[in-house]
């Protein structure tokens, strides 16, 4: 009797010590973003913090270069390896350039996932797409259709204002937009131009689009700088309500243009959810939860993986005058 008591006491103590030592050994997850100071990634970091509070035993290292270069990210990856973090969740500036250093990280036992903007399969275990490319492409065309309907027309024309002509995700989305055109037979794509994610160049390209296509109804810009510059160009030319701008952007940046009427609606996945999910995935990989086909990600459910280790979070969320203010205070 006495001995069992002592035994259980010892056992209890050792469990306490053990659990204490686990608590002291927090899982260190590095959230590596394209560049510091971008609203989208700041919001993702909020989501990561949310996951940290929920899990309790995670330390988040939010980091990234000062400009969107692959070189900057490689340097940081090397320093993260030296710090022996447990997991790296990266939104990559280049799909291939990061692979060698991420491979090195994996060889040292660090779990690597990519999110938002992926890296080659060899460089990571899992890639979390914010949404599937086909959903994003379709969403952009649907937004154009909504804007045409807003004008009270049954059919209309639209043009695409993209970022750089070499941007991988932009080009995939444009392809997907073209694919989904069959579904929207009342829409006609008249032009695709590139603003290089620079305010002045995007502004000029948007102005040229309007001049070259006098019957243009909608400009679709699946890029934050682009959609903002196009909306500004439309209101400067006094064409609010005649040419609508839509695409992907952040509520905090676009609220003004939604209220002025240059933008009827736009979409973006929720970066908070994205950062949350990425952290959850990284944590669960470190803890050995999850299989080759699915990994749990907390309140966001389960990520289903294809044979390449790719998974998609959800379809983009639409923002318009009814909800943009609510979200603009968040991201």
């Amino acid at each position: 009797m006495k001995s069992t008591l002592v035994k259980s006491l010892v056992l209890a103590c050792s469990t306490l010590v053990a659990s204490h030592s686990i608590a002291a050994e927090e899982v260190r997850v590095a959230l590596l973003v394209k560049a510091m100071g971008i609203g989208f990634f700041e919001a993702a970091y909020r989501g990561a913090e949310e996951a940290r509070k929920e899990l309790g035993d995670v330390e988040i290292i939010y980091t990234g270069p000062t400009s969107t270069t692959a070189e900057g990210q490689i340097e940081i990856i090397n320093s993260l390896i030296a710090q022996r973090v447990d997991a790296i969740a990266v939104s990559a500036n280049d799909a291939d350039a990061l692979v060698p250093s991420l491979k090195k990280a994996q060889q040292r036992g660090i779990k690597v996932i990519s999110w938002d903007s992926g890296v080659g399969q060899a460089g990571r275990e899992v890639h979390l797409n914010p949404s599937s490319n086909s959903l994003i492409g379709r969403m952009n065309v649907k937004l154009a259709a909504d804007a045409v309907a807003q004008k009270g027309k049954t059919s209309g024309t639209f043009a695409i204002l993209s970022a750089t002509p070499t941007s991988t995700n932009q080009n995939i989305w444009i392809e997907e937009m073209k694919k989904s055109l069959g579904e929207f037979s009342n829409l006609k794509l008249v032009d695709t131009v590139y603003g290089d994610d620079l305010a002045d160049k995007s502004f000029r390209e948007a102005t040229a689009l309007i001049k070259n296509h006098p019957d243009l109804d909608v400009i679709v810009a699946p890029t934050t700088v682009g959609i903002l510059a196009a909306a500004q160009a439309v209101s400067d030319l006094g064409l609010t309500g005649k040419v609508y701008v839509t695409g992907l952007g952040l509520p905090s940046e676009l609220a003004g243009h939604v209220h002025s009427g240059a933008i009827h609606s736009f979409a973006i996945w929720n970066p908070i959810d994205l950062g949350y999910s990425a952290t959850m995935l990284a944590y669960n990989l470190v803890k050995g939860k999850g299989t080759k086909t699915e990994i749990p990600m907390g309140r966001m459910g389960t990520l289903e993986l294809d044979k390449n280790g790719d998974g998609a979070m959800a379809k983009p969320f639409i923002y318009d005058a009814s909800n943009v203010d609510e979200f603009s205070s968040i991201f």
């Binding site: 609203g39 590139y194 001049k211 500004q232 940046e253 003004g256």
Partner: protein, 332 residues
């Protein structure tokens, strides 16, 4: 007289710009309409003002790589002041943008003047510092159009005689510079300080001080352009005008401002900026592929530099031959 005008660098450049302008007009007649010409000028205004400041710096054998970073910092600063104190009067904000720009320019100038450090080194450093400071100031956050006051965004767009205030500011800057560089001793000193620093020194010109003034003016204009840029595109973020310093220097080089100092004119500088403005606005209109756009812009700069190098040789010969070399340069 006419012959001299046509054979002058400014004359040749104007002919090229006009030929390009009307060439695009053949493809897209709307391009040469009055309203579009005004909008191209308006679009180029910021580049013109920055190029005029840069011209002074290059004339004194220096270079200012920090202009675009200065634009970003000052733009962010006034945008944030406007965001937090929307009731502040616009004249105060413009004064603030001039003051901050001048301050950043003076930092460059003081290093060059007092420590005699090569300007390319100083401004390469301050370029990163100002850009970094913009990040620290804003903590990376954007200032968006709905966070700016109506007068803040509206002022450069306000039309007088169907041209926006932004364009008129460039006109004012051009007139002021033209007068200063042609008729004021203060303006002539930039030519002598860069054309022949030794001779300038012996004729009582403080070369370092003149260089300081050049950076001060370049900085002040950058500050003003910071406000103009941020209000024109109705957004302030860290990467504002990223890489724009190269366009500014290109405008000067194309306009015939000699990179080795002492040579250049206000008219040439303005036409050089307009050249870039027309290229930037024409290429999207005629639907040139984005890859060709980059290549064409680059090609234009190389051709201009080659033209510059050869014309620079002539001037050097004139200096060797002619004892009144400075007068020869002044006559330009």
């Amino acid at each position: 007289m006419l012959k001299r005008l046509i054979y002058s660098r400014e004359g040749v450049l104007s002919i090229i710009v006009l030929a390009m302008f009307f060439g695009v007009g053949v493809i897209s007649p709307d391009f040469i309409s009055l309203s579009n010409s005004v909008s191209i000028f308006n679009d180029t205004s910021i580049l013109i003002m920055l190029a005029l400041g840069q011209m002074l710096v290059i004339l004194t054998r220096c270079i200012d790589l920090s202009v675009a970073a200065n634009v970003a910092f000052t733009g962010m600063f006034v945008a944030m002041v406007n965001q937090y104190f929307p009731e502040l009067h616009m004249s105060l904000l413009i004064f603030l943008s001039l003051f901050i720009g001048a301050l950043l320019g003076a930092i460059n100038g003081l290093f060059v003047w007092l420590l005699k450090v090569p300007s390319i080194v100083i401004t390469l450093g301050t370029m990163s510092i100002y850009r970094g400071a913009t990040f620290l100031l804003s903590d990376g956050a954007w200032v968006n159009s709905h966070q700016m006051s109506e007068s803040f965004i509206g002022l450069p767009r306000y039309e007088i005689l169907s041209m926006p205030v932004l364009g008129w500011m460039a006109v004012a800057a051009i007139i002021l510079f033209f007068w200063a560089m042609k008729f004021s001793v203060w303006g002539r000193n930039f030519y002598s300080a860069g054309g022949n620093p030794m001779a300038a020194f012996y004729s009582g010109v403080n070369v370092g001080k003149v260089q300081f003034y050049a950076f001060l003016v370049s900085g002040t204009l950058s500050g003003l352009c910071g406000y103009l840029w941020v209000s024109r595109f109705a957004v302030a973020y860290v990467d504002v005008a990223n890489g724009f310093e190269l366009q500014v220097i290109a405008a000067c080089v194309i306009g015939g401002v000699s990179i080795v100092g002492g040579l250049g004119s206000v008219v040439g500088c303005v036409i050089g900026a307009l050249f870039i403005g027309v290229v930037n606005n024409a290429l999207p209109i005629i639907g040139v592929s984005p890859f060709w756009q980059m290549a064409i812009s680059g090609l234009v700069i190389i051709i201009a530099v080659i033209a510059n190098a050869t014309s620079g040789k002539d001037k050097a010969r004139i200096i060797l031959r002619n004892p009144n070399a400075n007068d020869e340069i002044r006559a330009n």
